[in-house]
Symmetry: C2
Subunit: 354 residues, 2 copies
């Protein structure tokens, strides 16, 4: 493997000194880029884009050609695992994901098996290998997966954007059944992320998009517990370097201490938490990643720069900050505004570093 | 006016001793009740239901005939104010509210005036007067309004359920224009709530449904500041009794201290915050209202009782707790489950009081 030319992102995740704050953007390979929309059209379907390594590699690299980002993130989807488990994933146009065979009963859970990542999910590992080759050490590659709770919400509800009524009923009335489901998903996620690391992912992130819909006690029992399982089961060293693990619970600002105690390296923080407070609460245990309100990108470049400064100032001087949005970039954002953001992070952050 | 037969709710809001924890349910007059659906059908439209005092009174009283709730809440909508301001409110079937003339420019804001509550909103005041008469002192009546930030999101976006891209762009690029809008809405809300109090509302609640989509600094500047304006401008005494003020920011669990400092009497708390922690943070300054996950009502009555006990235990012994859900009741909940909840609160809470 080639030497890494820019390791700012990996160093920041391990709270090591950097010359300026590294920056990448959740969903940086996405619909706000016209070249992404062209490749997506060429692929014919979203899953075809995910499952064709050359196309997944192409869209992964697109934002890096435009912006001097400090990391690439694998283009994929958090639902590849339940798809590989045979739930029949489909994307109705303009409707979001939907499973033909949602998981509702003990019999449904018993039928599930941990998919071999180098078999049914080989297309993901091939994409990781191809992207690493194409990146040629320019920046590190982030692998990712959904959290067990988040993946399970889709598996049980059968679709996204719901009131979570079905999975919450399961949580309250059949907690042991839900635990059985979460257990197998946690094992699948661990195997999947370890395979991504073996294929070349240099950091991994777990997206707990729906952890924030749980009460604190339920969060600890049904989401955090399985994030802990994953952190404990991950390969933390590869190719002579530490592989940092980032946990991100959207809406999890009240639970940062508990998340930091899992032994992960960094926490994603959404924009409803002040980074200064977050830093005071987690101390030296983890780095922080975030947390600009994604809607700031609707504002003028001047205002974007001012808001970037506010986030940098809120974290303050010292190690352990990776700049990002507090959630994925909205699809109707002007790419020129992303350019302004990246430039602002790099130029304005110098004064916070030795 | 008749003597109040059950003042448990008002006493708890003022942190005075009660025999058991009072309970009411956000959106208790609503679609989960077949009798509500029948009256809604009879009315022909949602706004007709809101604007006909006899029908609004009828649906306000419906849940009280079924359940021994400790408070009634005026049946109305947070969008009556912008409707009275002339924005042209419509409800497309299955689509939610939509304004024909959203507020986007300085000229749009300049056209707005504070509506006289006893003129264009007289139907609301008539409903309050009628409900008070019909309640005949059975339980207190809660008046309510949306927060300026929440009302403004609908006025600017023109509809609900959006990414808030238009109002956030205004917030970042034209903050003074947004402040001008929020200022007039805050004055309208204050006048509206004072008129409800004059008409007979015995407590008032401000629903800040969308405050939780703001970064902490933006929350303080664009939502909390106007909640403060309202709290400071409200009539706090009527008919020889204090009129308690409840503030509720959905997703505002991280900002409870700042909300308590407004001088309100109670805070609504959603289910992502533990009441024990909330109580430790706000101390003796305010009462707390909440905070069962609304999805618990999908569970079995046995499990509902257990979860009610958990919430009661989390608040613990002492004064200042009003039981409620952490957000509005879902429309597909079984009314029998609501009966189980109310019964459980009343029976299980005795041990926490004198």
């Amino acid at each position: 493997m080639t030497e890494l030319k820019n390791d700012r992102f990996l160093r920041a995740l391990l709270r090591q000194p950097v010359d300026r704050t590294p920056v990448w953007i959740m969903r940086q390979a996405g619909r706000y880029l016209p070249e992404y929309r062209a490749t997506r059209e060429q692929a014919g379907s979203f899953m075809k884009l995910c499952s064709t390594p050359e196309l997944a590699c192409e869209v992964t690299l697109q934002p890096l050609r435009r912006f001097p980002l400090d990391a690439a993130i694998l283009f994929s989807d958090i639902l590849t695992i339940p798809d590989a488990m045979g739930l029949g994933l489909g994307f109705a146009e303009g409707e979001g994901p939907r499973f033909a065979r949602p998981v509702r009963s003990a019999a449904d859970v018993e039928k599930l098996a941990v998919p071999d990542p180098e078999d049914k999910l080989r297309y993901v590992m091939d994409a990781v290998r191809l992207i690493r080759r194409e990146l040629d050490g320019q920046v590190p590659l982030i692998g990712f997966a959904g959290s067990p709770w988040t993946i399970a919400t889709y598996m049980v509800e059968g679709q996204g954007g719901t009131s979570f009524s079905i999975i919450k009923k399961m949580l309250f009335d059949r907690p042991q059944l839900l635990h059985a489901l979460l257990d197998i998903v946690a094992r699948a996620v661990t195997a999947y992320l370890n395979a991504q690391i073996a294929a070349g992912a240099q950091a991994v992130m777990v997206f707990d998009t729906w952890g924030g819909v749980l009460a604190p006690r339920d969060y600890r029992e049904f989401s955090l517990r399985y994030l802990q399982t994953i952190v404990s089961g991950l390969t933390r060293q590869a190719q002579g370097r530490k592989v940092p693990v980032i946990l991100f619970t959207k809406g999890g600002g009240q639970w940062l201490e508990a998340m930091a105690a899992t032994g992960c390296d960094a926490l994603g923080v959404d924009w409803t938490t002040d980074l200064k407070d977050a830093r005071a609460r987690v101390g030296q245990r983890v780095a922080l990643q975030g947390n600009l309100d994604p809607c700031v990108l609707y504002a003028s470049p001047e205002r974007i720069r001012a808001e970037v400064e506010t986030v940098l100032e809120s974290f303050g001087a010292g190690n352990g900050h990776v700049f990002n949005l507090g959630h994925g970039i909205h699809p109707d954002v002007d790419p020129e505004h992303v350019a302004a953001l990246v430039e602002a992070v790099h130029s304005a952050s110098r004064k916070y570093h030795g």
